[in-house]
Subunit: 222 residues, 2 copies
Amino acid sequence: MVNIPVLKSITEANALLADALRATFARQDVLVLNIIASPGAGKTSLLERTIDMLDGELCLSVIEGDPTTSLDAERIVAAGVPAVQINTGGGCHLEARMIQAALEQVSVEDADVVIIENVGNLLCPTGWDLGEDAKVVVASLPEGDDKPLKYPMAFATAEAVVINKIDLEPYLPAKASVLRENALKVNPRLAVFEVSCLTGQGLDRWLDWMREQLAAKRGSST
Amino acid sequence: MVNIPVLKSITEANALLADALRATFARQDVLVLNIIASPGAGKTSLLERTIDMLDGELCLSVIEGDPTTSLDAERIVAAGVPAVQINTGGGCHLEARMIQAALEQVSVEDADVVIIENVGNLLCPTGWDLGEDAKVVVASLPEGDDKPLKYPMAFATAEAVVINKIDLEPYLPAKASVLRENALKVNPRLAVFEVSCLTGQGLDRWLDWMREQLAAKRGSST
């Protein structure tokens, strides 16, 4: 008798494919980050700043997810890094099968770090594994400092939170220190960075964290 | 022979229930608005300001949708208006069946306006009719002025856009005039309001629009 496994759901099929992608990324010794945030929190600006400040130190590839338009991928290519745009046609999250398709269009073999910018949505992307090593939440301070309590799922499953737009703090009722506290209430293991992608403030620690993640992955895979 | 209609999908079942809700709201002569926005765009702050500025002129009821917590409903009740909180348990949008259940807990018979604050998500709520008369998008200026182009679905199906947090414009790369232009590119019929729920600026025109919508509905139903 032959047992034929039946996939219970599309999320289970997604998890199997994500594991296969993770194995491929491990063989290629590439660190993969899945960036999750609300629309307009500053995901693409964080990538532009990261590319600029690394100044060629690490080889990056970027996969951009958006409901429509290729505006984000164009910004990344203009910054000098290969990028592929996935348009979900209004869909609210990326799935592993989309990453698999994107890898046919962008080379990651020579990359040190692949950054996946998910669709702007703090809810749906959380449940879809893309084969990443770590999820990173970008939380914009103007959104308010209560967001980790009201949208805990993204924070609970991430390794790091980048609190962006702290240059606006003097003009906001929200406080970066309260946002940090609320994020750590949801997930005490989070690495938290307070940055401004407009001024560049605080981004050095974010880059150090990325370097450490890459070194840890390469140390563990040799 | 009896024909038994088979529902093609849960969205079709939702549409049927939404039409039934709309008929009920019409009989009760109540205007129903469905507020859609990214997390932290200022939906609840808009409601608080609206309640405060109306100062009892209209009778409001509020239905709050959030993935978790009752923080938003508590803010509305503190402002003096009956509110019921729907927690979606991480779910990314409200559905008509949730509104039907909420109506067992909050009276709308004496209300002039029912405001439904959807889950913070610029994508998924767009596809789910709640029986409303109009969708209203709250677009926060710090999210950037390109959002209507990148997330067109919410703007395309709405009757009005409230551009919030314009008090921050001097400190942002984004411009309210560009956000307005981009919203009108997606949907030339949109009523557009530029407001600050922090300072109160611009909210008088939003209130006038709401009064006009109510008058038009009551005019058409008599």
